[in-house]
């Protein structure tokens, strides 16, 4: 074990790996600064670049980015009071208060150092988990692995914030979407409607970038004004270091909470940081300074949000169930390389596991170092209005999702899912279970049929491992049900600790015609899946039908409650809001861009779309627009010769 760990470290001396790790770290830092991207966006954008690489290089790049996304997202939270990701909004409470007192440097020192420590402790946690889980993982056979995949989707659905019924519906729809394509058991095509393109299944990058990336851009593109106020870092570097050293217990506690939040599927960085903040407040005797600039309010959460990403990797690599959205994509990547997480990664690819651990730890240190060195430049970057960034991001995301299959169809899928993702986001559906379901659909079905063919009837249910997982599956549901009942009877006013973040302000279209539409879409999709699966052969039919029946039940409940609130709120119903209009307009822009690409090719489309979007939507100055377009054009022109990337060709190009 120690041998493989040292061998993995030695392999990092390979210049190509080190270079990838460095690129990943820098890319992760930049993406951490852009609001709304976070770990999900970072992995989704970098994933297409890795398609031509060997697994170690690809992992170094992705892990490097993932490890530091939460290091730089603090910068804008502290300096501007506008968090770069949802999880950094915790740091904003105390960090921005410190900055307003002219102690931004103190807050940033605390945050960077804690992020670094959180990353390192997370990597240590991942290392320790390998020998601990090894005997357990090696004892798993297909029944346990099947239960684990079910557990992965179910826990993600139940533990995600918000309504459980919404979570389960989203998870089940993700499963249905994941089954589009060739059935793993009978090799027949399902839900393809005779299309050759759908026969390969939907591309993971397209789905992830649509549901998360484009949806995020659409809901934020209305921010066309950057921060005008001047940013001063102030002093307090030395004080920050001293305070960080004196709060070392908070750092460790925060990191441990983060690892735990990461291990649980569906509990991501956001919930983890709020847990850490709640813990820091609860254990402090003097609570006066919290929210007004208490160092403990920065140290714990910052340490937690970096270790979450390492914690996410524990169930992903050892059991094959992703702990969060970024790791779900990582899992998808490993599967395309033919590396099966779970028992086989431990026996055959232990070196890769340790490479991930080392990359994570080294990137955490590098990330903090870069942040210290370049904090002034980073601070300037945060002043760029989001609408200006959005133009380039749309171009990059569409290019990225083209790489997996090289088909324009993937891009259409991505935009459609983008609209759907925006609808989910604004009506309060958790999106993590959707993506986790999408990734786990095929493994779930494969393990089920392996189990079914190896065991007689329900014998496999009696295996001790399966029973334990069943218990883990049922307990949170019972728990949630009890909490629901108590909330109903209003007998929960005294119920203990509430660490969750305060009321969600992201889903503004809850309980409106919009959410009714969303529920309707869910019900319609499940019915369609049920009807079209009737024509499959019995073996290919079983799992899709079970999933769609379950989905119909849950979305039926959802539709019922939505209709009830819809009828009740007849007068004060949220209809067409300004933000919704803007988001949909942004999608129209994206569609226009894609249509241009389909007609004239990608490069031509970029030269038309970027200046138009910048001038009309972002209302940028002419000079900015010209420089922006030129730089992007040159970069895109040079990109195919630097990286294994293809630019989409248009219909006209095929004529010439």
């Amino acid at each position: 074990m120690l041998d493989s760990a040292m061998a993995a470290l030695a392999s990092l001396a390979d210049p190509s790996l080190l270079l990838m790790l460095l690129i990943g770290t820098v890319a992760g830092l930049v993406m951490g600064l852009i609001p709304g991207l976070g770990g999900t966006g970072a992995v989704a954008i970098l994933l297409p670049i890795t398609f031509g690489m060997e697994p170690p290089q690809a992992l170094a790049l992705l892990i490097g980015a993932l490890a530091v996304v939460h290091t730089s997202d603090t910068v804008s939270a502290v300096l501007l009071g506008a968090p770069g990701s949802a999880s950094a909004s915790v740091t904003m409470l105390d960090g921005y208060s410190m900055a307003k007192k002219g102690q931004a440097a103190r807050a940033l020192t605390l945050a960077f150092l804690s992020s670094m420590a959180g990353g390192i402790i997370g990597a240590i946690g991942l290392t320790l988990a390998i020998p601990l889980a090894r005997p357990l993982v090696l004892s798993f056979a297909s029944p346990e692995l099947f239960m684990l995949t079910v557990l992965g989707v179910a826990l993600a659905a139940v533990l995600s914030r918000g309504n459980i019924i919404k979570g389960v519906s989203a998870g089940l729809l993700g499963l249905v979407l994941g089954m589009v394509g060739t059935s793993p058991t009978t090799a027949e095509e399902r839900f393809t409607f005779g299309s050759l393109f759908l026969g390969d299944g939907l591309s993971l990058v397209a789905v992830a970038l649509g549901i998360f990336g484009l949806a995020e851009i659409a809901s934020r593109a209305s921010q066309r004004r950057g921060q005008k106020e001047n940013i001063s870092l102030g002093g307090g570097w030395g004080r920050g270091i001293r305070e960080w050293l004196s709060h070392w217990t908070q750092v460790i506690r925060g990191a441990l909470i983060g690892i735990w939040a990461g291990v649980l599927p569906g509990v991501g960085a956001t919930a983890g940081t709020w847990l850490a903040y709640g813990q820091a407040v609860a254990t402090a005797k003097d609570k006066r300074q919290f929210g007004k600039g208490d160092p403990r309010g920065i140290v714990g959460p910052e340490s937690a949000n970096n270790s979450v990403e390492a914690g996410d990797l524990i169930p992903t690599l050892l059991f094959g169930i992703p702990g969060g959205v970024p790791s779900a994509m990582l899992l998808g990547m490993l599967l395309t390389y033919g590396i099966q997480p779970g028992p086989s990664i431990i026996t055959e690819h232990l070196d890769l596991m340790y490479l991930i651990v080392w990359s994570f730890a080294i990137a955490s240190i590098l990330g903090a170092l870069f942040c210290f060195l370049s904090v002034k430049q980073l601070a300037k970057l945060t002043k760029v209005p989001f609408a200006v960034l959005a133009a380039g991001l749309v171009a990059i995301m569409l290019l990225g999702s083209f790489q997996e299959g090289g088909q324009l169809g993937d891009l259409w899928v991505m935009i459609i899912l983008g609209v759907f993702g925006w609808l989910l986001k604004s009506t309060g559906f958790p999106r993590a279970p959707f993506l986790i379901g999408f990734v786990l659909a095929i493994p779930l079905e494969r393990y089920y049929f392996l189990t079914d063919s190896l065991y007689n009837g329900l014998d496999w249910m009696a295996r001790p491992g399966v029973l334990v997982f069943l218990a883990i599956l049922i307990l949170p549901i019972v728990w949630a049900f009890i909490k629901f009942l108590r909330a109903r009877r209003h007998s929960n006013v005294d119920d203990g600790h509430r660490d969750e973040r305060p009321e969600d302000d992201e889903s503004q279209l809850k309980n409106s015609t919009w959410s009714l539409t969303a529920a309707g879409i869910f019900a319609a999709a499940f019915s369609a899946a049920l009807i079209s699966s009737a024509s499959f052969s019995p073996e290919a039919r079983l799992v899709p039908q079970l999933v769609s029946i379950g989905g119909l039940i849950f979305s039926g409940i959802l539709l019922f409650t939505e209709i009830r609130t819809w009828l009740r709120t007849r007068t004060a119903r949220v209809g067409w809001t300004l933000d919704a209009g803007f988001a949909l307009k942004t999608f129209v822009w994206m569609t226009g861009f894609l249509a241009l690409t389909a007609a004239f090719g990608y490069l031509v489309a970029v030269t038309i779309f970027i200046p138009a979007f910048l001038l009309v939507v972002a209302r940028a100055r002419l000079k900015t627009t010209v420089v922006y377009t030129l730089v992007l054009y040159v970069v895109l022109l040079a990109l195919p010769s630097l990286l294994p990337i293809d630019l989409p060709q248009g219909w006209l190009n095929t004529l010439v």
Binding site: F290, G291, S491, V493, D494, G496, R498
Partner: protein, 126 residues
């Protein structure tokens, strides 16, 4: 000089409020209400005006405050420390051992963590 009432829209919360008002009038101190209920169940505006008038005739003021902290127990203690209150009034009810173990208890946390005297009242008195 203030008495802090941890108010929640339940029987024990009402009891805490009643006792808090009595205490404030008795001690001739201001009254500070912190809402610990889930969601935004603030006091009824009419009731609040009445309460404000009642305190005003005695020369006292009514304040309502909230905290950025999401845990109600922590919020109450933070405000109490911040405002340097004389006393916190909480309403409690019977909770089983298991209930407290699994779900926790806000009142218990206030009792244990507070740095000032706490007056605990029950709604179901004899």
């Amino acid at each position: 000089m203030t008495v802090l009432v941890a108010y929640s829209p339940a029987a024990e919360g009402r009891e805490a409020l009643t006792t808090g008002i009595t205490e404030a009038l008795l001690r001739k101190t201001d009254l500070l209400i912190v809402n610990v209920g889930r969601g935004h169940h603030d006091l009824d505006p009419a009731e609040m005006q009445e309460l404000e008038a009642q305190l005003h005739t005695a020369g006292l003021t009514l304040m309502i405050e909230s905290s950025v902290l999401s845990d109600p127990g922590d919020a109450v203690i933070q405000i109490a420390q911040d405002r340097n209150v004389d006393m916190i009034v909480v309403g409690l009810r019977h909770r089983s051992m298991v209930g407290k173990l699994i779900l926790g208890s806000t009142v218990q946390r206030i009792l244990l963590d507070a740095t000032c005297p706490v007056l605990a009242v029950r709604a179901d008195r004899l």
